[in-house]
């Protein structure tokens, strides 16, 4: 519940960005022209001070929320989509296809996630869409596994056989019977996957693989670090972005866990 509330706040901030902060503030040339001071603490330059090239930190926070949330959600959508399709296909068709696909997912699970993401990002270049692609392509195995397990459970239930004997086609069975039973789990999994996507994007940006033209929270942290914000104790520069990430991730995690309990009552016990 708290999670939903927090999420609302941030989605609002992200969507209302143009109202809350002027996007031109992100442009260093503009900032200089404005006569902004450098490295100014919030006391000097409300609400959140300025950075090393005179840009408003508040503007970066507000506009960064858009990028971080967008990348997190888009990457998750990709992950879930790939994972669900593979999971459903694998579970429904079974046999060699299943074995093969599961082998592939096993390999992916073994390969360390971050290095793989780094390697792919280094090769593909620095853009938002590449980041989304990279995260999506490296995170699907766990979703696929979950979905496949659920599909297998559903498949065993009588009514699928009944539908088949009634002459239902494969697609009909999938959409009418399997999907409804699996979608709850997928939703819960998706909500829990968003934090991973956001944190991965943040880390990738921090390491310099982020899109140079966009200002995600991760990028803010990278710039802060690289330009010595810590030595100067310019806390106003690196605290907000981090807190933003922390809170959003917490929100999604809380919501996700609740959804998980609903989708899988076996998980919530009261002893």
């Amino acid at each position: 519940m708290i999670g939903l509330g927090i999420l609302f706040v941030f989605v609002f901030i992200a969507l209302a960005a143009p109202l809350l902060a002027d996007i031109r503030e992100l442009n260093p040339v503009f900032a200089r022209a404005q006569g902004n001071p450098q490295w100014a603490p919030p006391s000097e330059f409300p609400p959140l001070g300025t950075d090393y090239i005179r840009r408003s930190v508040w503007a970066q926070f507000v506009w960064g929320s858009r990028v971080s949330l967008f990348v997190g959600l888009a990457a998750t959508v990709l992950t879930i989509f790939i994972g669900s399709v593979i999971g459903i296909v694998s579970g429904y068709i079974g046999g060699k296809t299943d074995g093969g696909l599961m082998r592939v997912s096993e390999w992916f699970l073994v390969i360390p996630f971050l290095p793989l993401a780094i390697v792919l990002a280094s090769i593909l270049g620095r853009s938002i869409w590449n980041i989304i692609f990279v995260i999506g392509v490296t995170s699907w195995p766990s979703t696929a596994r979950l979905v496949r397990a659920q599909v297998l459970t559903v498949k065993q239930r009588l009514f699928v056989d009944r539908a088949r004997s009634l002459g239902g086609t494969g697609w009909h069975i999938v959409s009418r019977h399997i999907l409804p039973n699996v979608s709850g789990l997928i939703l819960a999994n998706a909500t829990l996957a968003v934090p991973i996507s956001i944190l991965t994007e943040t880390t990738l940006s921090f390491l310099g693989l982020g899109d140079p033209s966009s200002a995600s929270w991760g990028k803010t942290l990278e710039e802060a670090f690289v330009n010595g914000a810590m030595i100067r104790n310019a806390w106003w520069y690196f605290l907000p972005a981090g807190i933003g990430i922390l809170v959003v991730v917490l929100a999604f995690t809380l919501i996700g866990r609740t959804l998980e309990e609903i989708a899988n009552p076996r998980l919530s016990r009261e002893r």
Binding site: F113, L207, M230, I245, L250, R271
Partner: protein, 316 residues
């Protein structure tokens, strides 16, 4: 047992293949990249190309790659012009120290916290531990590092700002060791706090699963004290999945420390990776990736074997 080892080997081979082809796609002209910006006669470049076998069919190149890799020749770093192998080997000990200490600490502390949280379910202790560890787990690990750095090295200059040892210091023996320990504190603290949560959570849910089992009631019926029931009956059963997790995590934490090492300029594999990214120093990245994957594969195997050994229900 043999089957598992074979499976691991297969996975490693897959990694080799994957690694090779992935980088081949990008490294269209490795020799050219190596001498980027330098004035080298075309003839030299062509000669080198032949020497490196780059004008041969791609499968031959793959064969060379595997052969060279297995002999420890992973190419030359773009940035340092030194052999990749040497750079990597030099960085391994530092990372092992950092990751090893952090992994052990977070496993120990996390497990204990998980036990407390489960045994005192739904009390303030439980909620506090669960909430606290969730918060730490939800923040970017390097950001936590930044906070600790500012807090304890800048604002309260108790600890050094980074690096492995004080630069230019000629201290030796015990002094040197203490100096290194001093430098280890903050990065290790960062990683420990960041990974604490996972252990606590898994131990907690594992113990909660066990707590519903009948054999605990039986143990109490026999007249055992609560503490003994927990120690002798509940925890050993709950520990099984945690042990597996710990072993697996060792493999992954190796690569998870990348960003934190960058923050503290800790001269290990992570920093090497971070530096290599800025190039991009593709041979370095390729070599590092191979190493990270190998580590995960090895530790997964260790985890499997350990679990089989500990759980009497698995026949070995």
């Amino acid at each position: 047992m043999g089957r598992k080892a074979l499976g691991s080997l297969l996975t490693f081979i897959f990694v080799l293949v994957f690694n090779f082809f992935l980088f081949r796609i990008v490294q269209k002209d490795p020799i050219g990249s190596l001498f980027r910006g330098r004035n080298v006669p075309q003839q030299t470049i062509d000669n080198l190309r032949t020497a490196f076998g780059l004008d041969e069919p791609i499968f031959t190149q793959f064969f060379y790659y595997v052969r060279e890799s297995l002999q420890g020749n992973l190419g030359i770093s773009y940035q340092s012009r030194q052999p990749v192998w040497d750079e990597i080997v030099a960085a391994i000990p530092e990372t092992v120290i950092l990751v090893g200490v952090s992994a052990i600490l977070s496993a120990l502390i996390g497990t204990v916290l998980g036990i407390v949280a489960a045994w005192r379910r739904n009390t303030w202790k439980d909620h506090g531990i669960t909430a606290g560890t969730m918060v730490f787990y939800s923040m970017p690990d390097f950001w936590l590092g930044m906070l600790l750095l500012v807090g304890f090295a800048v604002v309260f200059p108790i600890f050094p700002v980074g690096g492995f040892a004080t630069a230019g210091s000629s201290a030796a023996g015990l002094d040197r060791l203490l100096d290194q320990l001093n430098h280890l504190v903050l990065p290790a603290l960062t990683l420990t706090l960041a990974y604490l949560g996972e252990y606590a959570l898994i131990m907690r849910s594992s113990l909660l699963d066990v707590m519903g089992e009948d054999y605990l009631t039986v143990a109490r019926a026999k007249g055992l004290r609560d503490r003994i029931v927990r120690r002798r009956h509940a925890v050993p059963n709950a520990l099984l999945p945690v042990v597996t997790l710990t072993a697996i995590n060792f493999g992954f934490v190796l690569s998870g420390a990348i960003a934190v090492e960058a923050v503290y300029s800790w001269p290990g594999l992570g920093k090497a990776t971070a530096d290599a990214i800025r190039g991009p120093d593709l041979p370095m990245l390729q070599g590092l990736f191979l190493l990270f994957s190998a580590a995960v594969i090895v530790f997964n195997l260790i985890a499997d074997v350990t679990y089989a050994y500990l759980d009497p229900r698995v026949d070995h």
